[in-house]
């Protein structure tokens, strides 16, 4: 392509490509057809593919996922939009007990190729329930795949790969990066469940995903100024984790700091810390450290700058790791 896309527009283009390729792909959610979604990610799709395939649903998240399951049983590949991260919970049973388990419950006879798109994370000054990072709930559930894109190129390719998957995929979109622009390539550079090493480092590696990848890159650049070689891995896939890449960077830099917006307690960072510790114990110079939000309900907007992990807190953790 070579043209620059905003992250949201790249997902739009990816959806368009998937819908063009396979007429069984349908898109459904609240306010996604006429309005094009509150973030305009589905803008124009209803005009181009019709309202049979781009569906404004009644206002019911359990209904969106539950009926998507029925549609998938009938041979469709639904892509569900959840309007904001905090509104996925009414669909929790349908996702965790129904969507995730159907294949195992049917001895592998029934596949549910459903994608659940969720704009995720904070930093946009929103009111409550609009800034959550809830990937750990779904990553904890066997039967679901969970991915998180951080840039337009990945957004464009990963949404298509997710739609092509015969398993259910929870697809996270970093809402505060929807307007970030970058070039989008014609072909995907890697498969859906591979992490990307964005920056090599020999002193320490930051592992981030979604909205915090940019923050991690900024922190690595700042550390570089101070004379440290800090790498950055964009996780891209949360479930399954790309353990080989994690092993590789741990062996290379001997120190790992995980960064995410979700609270640290039982967050993805804990799983990464355990994985790296179990598999690379003798390579490590310091315990894997985690930088995340405090273990609190997401606070009111005026407190969010102090709540979310930022460059300073990442550097603080890198220092702690280096001085361990």
């Amino acid at each position: 392509m070579g043209t620059k896309y905003a992250l949201g527009a790249a997902i739009n283009a990816g959806l368009r490509a998937a819908m063009t390729r396979d007429e069984k792909v349908i898109v459904m959610g609240e306010d996604i057809a006429t309005l094009g979604g509150v973030f305009r990610v589905t803008d124009g799709l209803a005009d181009d593919f019709g309202t049979d395939r781009v569906i404004d649903t009644p206002l019911a998240e359990s209904g969106i996922v539950g009926t998507a399951i029925g549609l998938a049983l009938r041979g469709y590949r639904p892509v569900c939009e959840i309007q904001f991260d905090g509104f996925v919970y009414p669909a929790f049973d349908q996702i965790v007990s129904q969507l995730a388990k159907m294949r195992a419950r049917s001895q592998g006879r029934l596949s549910l190729p459903i994608v659940i798109r969720i704009p995720v994370g904070g930093g946009i000054g929103a009111v409550e329930h609009h800034s959550e990072s809830n990937e750990a709930y779904f990553a904890h559930t066997a039967g679901l795949r969970v991915v998180s894109c951080s840039n337009p190129d990945d957004a464009f390719h990963m949404i298509q790969q997710a739609i092509q998957s015969d398993d259910p995929v929870v697809f996270y979109e970093p809402k505060r990066r929807y307007w970030d622009k970058a070039e989008v390539s014609d072909e995907p550079s890697r498969s859906l469940h591979e992490a990307a090493v964005l920056r090599e480092g020999t002193d320490c590696t930051l592992v981030a995903h979604g909205p915090t990848v940019t923050t991690a890159l900024d922190a690595a650049a700042a550390a570089h100024e101070d004379g440290f070689s800090v790498g950055v891995v964009d996780l891209r896939t949360i479930s399954p984790l790309d353990a080989p890449t994690l092993r590789k960077v741990a062996a290379q830099s001997h120190r790992v700091v995980v960064v995410h917006e979700a609270s640290t307690f039982l967050g993805i960072g804990a799983e990464i810390a355990a994985t790296v510790t179990e598999e690379c114990f003798y390579e490590l110079e310091a315990p894997v450290l985690r930088v995340g939000a405090y273990n609190l309900p997401y606070p009111p907007a005026h407190m969010e700058d102090r709540f979310l992990p930022n460059v300073d807190r990442i550097i603080e953790a890198v220092d702690a790791s280096l001085n361990y």
């Binding site: 509104f87 009414p90 329930h129 009111p300 407190m303």
Partner: protein, 386 residues
């Protein structure tokens, strides 16, 4: 419009308690669970003249002035708040513009001891419960997740996850029932929220337990960009019957009709007859919120048709026709100006607490993670004054 004095029984499910019908409430009683009702109940026509029902029931001019005052002040809050949002003083504002009659007409029919469970657009309700502008704006300024103490105002904090509050209200009503109190609970929700499972569970639960609760739906025709026709095939006041909930259909832009219907329904609920649902047909004259652009999904014709039904204009016409003097209007204008200045001043005086307070408010009892993380936090930041 015609109003039959005969209660319609066709859709009334077996077991719906029969109500001792008093003469004056015949008309309202007839409006219950009427599946043929396409025209909602009205007391005042758009031109300000009483309808036949208005003539029959009589117009309470004192009440009309009170409701008119409430509505004018509520709309002024909307104007000021939207302006404050545009100036960057608020993160977001959700306008109740056009829905003032549904809100003030209903809340004024309850006792101050009746607990309210709002959704998020009920600023006019909050004002009638004497909640200060600063407390209404606090949440939208990003300073806190809730603005007031429900134990003081008897208004629960806003619920932004759609429909969830209807179950809380139902449980609260179950508590009221257990204690044998004569309080009634009211919960507000939208036409869109009515599609949520929670809301329908609440209807069923309340009916099964014959609980003292009024479900008040402001059907403002839209859920962001989604029209009511996408949400449902059967009107909500008819759906109520299927649950065994007494359903009422009222013109939500007719403050007096809303008040009359709510008063009637509430009396019925208070006397132990089980839950009621009121569907107030109204219109969201502004966008969904300060970040919405309604031009993307609705026509100018639709908007102007509803502008012609403006609830404030209607009551103003009624009052003028009835000979209420200029004094009421000019005094009110002055009051609204004073109030507007107060809103602006109070908004700018809102300063949120420090994040440190969230560590204190998350659990009732001491928690080791809160303790360790708040000290980490305080090592990084000075606590700002609240």
């Amino acid at each position: 419009m015609t109003v039959t004095a005969e209660p319609t029984t066709t859709s009334t499910p077996e077991g719906t308690p029969s109500v001792p019908v008093t003469k004056s409430s015949d008309i309202l009683e007839a409006r219950q669970n009427d599946p043929t009702s396409t025209a909602p109940f009205q007391l005042v026509e758009e031109n300000g003249n009483p309808t036949r029902a208005g003539d029959d029931l009589g117009i309470d001019l004192e009440l009309a002035q009170q409701l008119h005052t409430d509505m004018v002040l509520a709309r002024r809050l909307d104007h000021e708040a939207l302006a404050l949002q545009r100036q960057g003083e608020l993160h977001l504002w959700v306008m109740s513009w056009g829905q003032e009659a549904a809100q003030v007409g209903s809340i004024r029919a309850f006792r101050d001891t009746d607990r309210v469970f709002p959704s998020y657009r009920e600023h006019a309700v909050a004002m009638c419960r004497k909640i200060a502008p600063a407390d209404i704006l606090r949440q939208w300024r990003g300073a806190a997740h809730s603005g007031w103490d429900p134990k003081e105002s008897n208004v629960h904090i806003n619920s932004l996850v759609l429909g969830t509050q209807t179950l809380h209200a139902t449980g609260y009503a179950a508590g009221v029932r257990l204690e044998g109190s004569d309080e009634v609970v009211v919960t507000y929700f939208g036409d869109g929220a009515a599609s949520q499972g929670d809301v329908n569970e609440a209807f069923n639960w309340a009916a099964a337990g014959s609980l003292p609760i009024v479900f008040f739906c402001q059907n403002n025709q839209w859920a962001i960009s989604t029209p009511t026709t996408t949400q449902m095939r059967t009107p909500l006041h008819v759906r109520a019957a299927g649950f065994g909930v007494a359903g009422y259909h009222v013109d939500g832009n007719d403050a007096l009709a809303v008040h009359a219907v709510t008063q009637h329904a509430t009396a019925r609920v208070r006397s132990g007859e089980g839950p009621a649902l009121i569907e107030a047909e109204t219109y969201r004259l502004a966008g969904h919120s300060s970040s919405d652009d309604p031009k993307r999904y609705r026509t100018d014709e639709e908007l102007s048709a509803w502008q012609a039904k403006d609830p404030i204009t209607r009551l103003e016409r009624l009052l003028r026709n009835a000979g209420v003097g200029e004094r009421h209007f000019s005094d009110l204008e002055g009051r609204a100006d004073t109030f507007a200045a107060e809103v602006r001043e109070q908004c700018k005086s809102i300063h949120g607490d420090d994040l440190a307070t969230v560590f204190e408010h998350t659990y009732a009892e001491p928690h080791p993670v809160m303790r360790s993380e708040s000290s980490q936090y305080l090592a990084r930041h000075d606590r700002t004054a609240g």
